[in-house]
């Protein structure tokens, strides 16, 4: 009988031991898996604890705890990126990254192990990829006009500047001086990622990419007509009223450099809806960009609809009619061309550090895959470089940085929207930019100089 008693005793003790292990694993799993569950009312309290700071790549503090509330030392400059916390609602990175800035002392087994090995469990700081010098240059260059500027490192997807204008002071919302519902919708909107506009001639980069993918090259000749009337549609004119060159023929390169509407409208009709929509979709149209602050998907109509409606197809070829894009999307188009045809997902948090400075986590860009062949990217780079050297985009010239780009002047209700997308330096692109000034005028005259100032500021900040 003693044998069976030993066996039963061992069994029950083993069951208790198993329970202890299950409890250990289960409670820490439940802690991490269900801490964010909206039905879990236990966690809501924790979000009010002390929080770390947000800093730019050049060390400027963007958000920090200030007694009882959050404070934003750069005021209006980062309202749409950093967002605000008014105690009830959070926006921007204040919302998406709140958990990463809270103290790591969450009573978990992991936190205990970290503290036992001498780790600092205090509220971590977030170091962003944005460069305050570049951001400031973009804000100054916009000069309060309605629009947006976004700059990206094309090789990594790191956001270098993120400006939406007009802006508001998040401090007034955080302090309660102004209720968030009283913010003007025109200032509250993030025009970088949530404002859809016709991209105008900047969309010619995509039509050109579609043509280059199908064997057209820079020297392919097109008729240089003064206007083009698609069957059943209204005439499409060039910007200068008249032919783009001498009225005979024009190469693809020259048509791109002077932004020849007639050539690109006809090219779009020749290509048909399929190739254009496919190229646009590869660049990120008709889908959401993986960007943590969300975005409105760019719009290109379905290929079948375009093929059934030649005037719409022709106008889509010059970025009008129903084609829509956000500045963020167009910046990614420029960035993908700059990065030899590979698109990178945008990101803005570079590192997360403990108060004692040790790096807790490091973030890097993720590839979204190849968008265009390397040869197409090289050809587009050559075309876009020519735009800045001898074409519509000379306003984007920066002293010692070889800039490539494309202007756009899109139809808008209150005057044309001025667009510029570009990147530099062309031999080793490290910054891609998209600029839009709503109702601002011509892309070459208004948007291109803003891009130049942003790129110059970036060059200066690199030392």
């Amino acid at each position: 009988m003693k044998g069976p008693i030993r066996g039963v005793a061992a069994t029950f003790l083993a069951l208790l031991g198993f329970t202890a292990v299950w409890l250990t694993v289960g409670s820490s799993y439940a802690g991490s898996r269900y801490a964010d569950d909206p039905r879990n009312t236990r966690v809501a309290v924790d979000l009010d604890g002390p929080r770390g700071r947000m800093l730019t790549a050049d060390g400027v503090v963007l958000a920090e705890d200030d007694g009882t509330r959050r404070s934003y030392p750069r005021s209006t400059a980062y309202a749409h990126l950093v967002g605000y916390d008014d105690g009830e609602t959070r926006t921007g990175l204040e919302s998406t990254r709140i958990r990463e800035m809270l103290t790591r002392d969450d009573r978990s087994l992991e936190a205990l192990l970290v503290s036992l090995t001498g780790g600092d469990l205090g509220p971590p700081d977030l170091h962003l990829t944005v460069v305050d010098a570049v951001q400031r240059a973009a804000i100054d260059a916009l000069g309060g006009r309605t629009g947006a500027v976004v700059a990206i490192d094309p090789t990594t997807g790191a956001i270098l500047a993120y400006v939406s204008s007009p802006s508001f002071d998040p401090n007034t919302v955080a302090s309660g001086a102004r209720h968030r519902d009283d913010l003007d919708a025109a200032t509250a909107i993030d025009r970088v990622a949530h404002r859809l506009l016709p991209p105008g001639s900047t969309f010619k980069t995509i039509v050109a990419a579609a043509a280059l993918n199908r064997g057209t090259d820079l020297d392919t000749l097109f008729d240089d007509a003064a206007d083009y009337t698609p069957p059943g549609g209204i005439p499409i004119n060039n910007a200068g009223a008249g032919p783009c060159r001498d009225g005979t023929t024009i190469t693809l390169l020259d048509a791109f450099v002077v932004s020849c509407n007639v050539v690109f409208a006809e090219l779009a009709v020749d290509l048909g809806g399929g190739p254009i929509v496919a190229a646009a979709a590869r660049f990120g149209f008709n889908a959401r960009i993986p960007w943590e602050l969300g975005n409105e998907p760019g719009v290109v109509p379905a290929a079948a609809d375009l093929d059934a409606d030649t005037p719409a197809l022709a106008q889509s070829g010059i970025g009008e009619r129903d084609v829509r894009a956000t500045p963020l999307l167009m910046a990614m188009v420029a960035a993908a061309i700059a990065n030899d045809g590979v698109a990178m997902a945008p990101y803005v948090v570079a590192t997360r550090t403990a108060p004692d400075g040790t790096v807790i986590s490091r973030y890097s860009g993720q590839s979204l895959g190849r968008v265009i062949p390397m040869a197409t990217a090289a050809a587009l780079t050559e075309m876009m470089r020519a735009v800045v050297v001898i074409g519509t985009g000379t306003g984007a010239t920066v002293g010692d940085v070889a800039v490539a780009g494309k202007t756009g002047t899109a139809e808008g209700g209150g005057g044309p929207h001025a667009w510029f997308i570009g990147f530099g330096p062309t031999d080793d692109p490290r910054i891609a930019v998209a600029v839009v000034v709503e109702g601002g005028g011509s892309g070459g005259g208004v948007a291109a100089p803003i891009a130049a100032r942003v790129i110059a500021a970036w060059r200066d900040s690199m030392g």
Binding site: M1, K2, G3, P4, I5, R6, V8, A9, F12, L13, L15, L16, G17, F18, T19, A20, W22, L23, T24, G26, S27, S28, Y29, A30, G31, S32, R33, Y34, A35, D37, R39, N40, T41, R42, V43, D106, R107, S108, L109, A111, L112
Partner: protein, 429 residues
């Protein structure tokens, strides 16, 4: 370990009870002084009384039993008080009564020892069956059955303006263990011999099995009829394990396991409230607002504690329905953390180890079986409810020994500890 050290450990448990009660009372804004003094005095008085009774009537008893029980009780009382002030205060009275019951058991057995229990074997069996049948008494009498949460296992004694509710099943379990130990000690040879064959299965003479099957059948039928699955499962495990221990025949375990599996399957197929439990076990978040609510809240609660817990009064254990009874362990883990939970499990492991140690040292077959049966009772109950609240198994609502709120359970378990102490005394004397 000497009696003096055991006394020191009991004082420690009283300090824990006082400190925890004070912490909870301060956080929750309750009567700090009176509740703290009450907790300390109750803990000291109750376990002091049992210790005194052991010293007097079972002086050679194992010194390993009382300290873990006192520790678990202290933690349980703190958490019950934290969840519900009034339940916590009532629990103190139950603890005092339980101590008196434990001391009484030791007093009654002071001269003739546990062996005297064998004489009343059949009386115990009938008493157990009677106790199990009590809740089926119709409503409206002075002593009436009562239904709580769909299970009819309560009896309410009407005393004019007041009434006392208790679960007679808790006491019945002890009586059945005593009956089984006695019966198996006498008849084990007959039960171990297996002259009959039923297919590939060897069987003892059916005549030998009859009383056991009857006892088992009545208990299980009554419990299933009362829809108390936890107690039914618990009793079944104790039965089967004791049969195995008494006969050293693993075939009883095999047959018992098969019957248990079949019974659970049948229960799941028959009773809708069992199906609901199984669903809540496997997929608590599918019906979050309905049947899964309790299990889902328990998951949130477990995840909230971390290593050292939120601190008494800082968690939200009351969001889990039945936090003070079935789910008291989850509440303890939320507020005292993984550390508190593991300490409690260690306490049970100590208690169970001490109990089996007594069974192993006993030279007399009855005493050894009784000690093992009592220990299995407490070990199985602990595992069934821990596994239920931690979702290792479906939840079957029974109390966590010494920790859950509930007088019947506390009384029965204190009597159980007293019996174990007496057995260990007799083996050493």
């Amino acid at each position: 370990m000497t009696r003096r050290r055991e006394a020191i450990l009991i004082v420690f448990s009283a300090v824990i009870a006082g400190a925890g009660t004070a912490a909870a009372a301060i956080t929750l804004g309750r009567e700090v002084v009176s509740d703290t003094v009450g907790a300390v005095l109750t803990q000291l008085g109750a376990f002091g009384t049992v210790l005194w009774a052991i010293t007097r009537w079972a002086p050679s008893a194992s010194r390993l039993l009382l300290a873990p029980a006192a520790f678990i009780t202290a933690i349980g009382c703190i958490e019950v008080y934290r969840i519900d002030r009034d339940l916590g205060r009532i629990q103190r009275w139950w603890l005092v009564i339980a101590a008196v019951v434990g001391a009484t058991v030791l007093y009654l057995l002071r001269d003739r020892g546990v062996l005297v229990l064998r004489r009343f074997r059949n009386l115990f069996l009938f008493a157990a069956v009677g106790l199990l049948l009590l809740p089926l008494l119709p409503d409206g009498l002075a002593l009436a059955g009562a239904e709580v949460n769909g299970s009819r296992l309560w009896v309410r004694l009407d005393l004019g303006e007041r009434s006392i509710s208790f679960q007679p099943g808790e006491a019945a379990k002890l009586l059945i263990v005593v009956f089984l130990a006695s019966y198996l000690a006498d008849r084990w040879r007959a039960l171990a011999e297996m002259p009959r064959r039923l297919g590939a299965l060897r069987m003892p003479e059916p005549r030998q099995l009859a009383p056991i099957l009857m006892a088992f059948g009545i208990a299980v039928v009554v419990l299933v009829y009362q829809r108390d699955l936890g107690a039914s499962l618990h009793l079944f495990v104790v039965f089967v394990v004791m049969l195995y221990l008494g006969t050293s025949r693993p075939s009883y375990l095999v047959a018992g396991g098969t019957m248990a599996a079949g019974g659970m399957y049948a229960a799941a197929a028959t009773f809708s409230h069992v199906q609901v439990r199984v669903e809540a076990w496997l997929r608590p978040f599918d019906d979050y607002t309905g049947s899964g609510y309790q299990a889902a809240q328990a998951v949130f609660s477990l995840g909230n504690g971390g290593v050292f817990g939120t601190g008494l009064g800082y968690g939200s254990p009351h969001l889990v329905p039945a936090a003070a009874t079935d789910y008291v362990f989850v509440a303890i883990v939320e507020e005292l953390g993984l550390a508190g939970g593991l300490a409690l499990v260690a306490g049970y492991a100590l208690l169970v180890t001490a109990g089996f140690g007594i069974a192993l040292r006993s030279t007399d077959r009855f005493r050894s079986l009784l000690a093992a049966g009592l220990t299995v009772t407490i070990a199985a109950q602990t595992f069934i409810i821990l596994a239920g609240v931690l979702r290792i198994l479906p939840l079957t609502g029974i109390t966590l020994p010494f920790a859950s709120y509930g007088g019947s359970s506390l009384l029965a378990n204190m009597a159980l500890i007293a019996l174990l102490a007496r057995i260990s005394h007799e083996e050493r004397a």
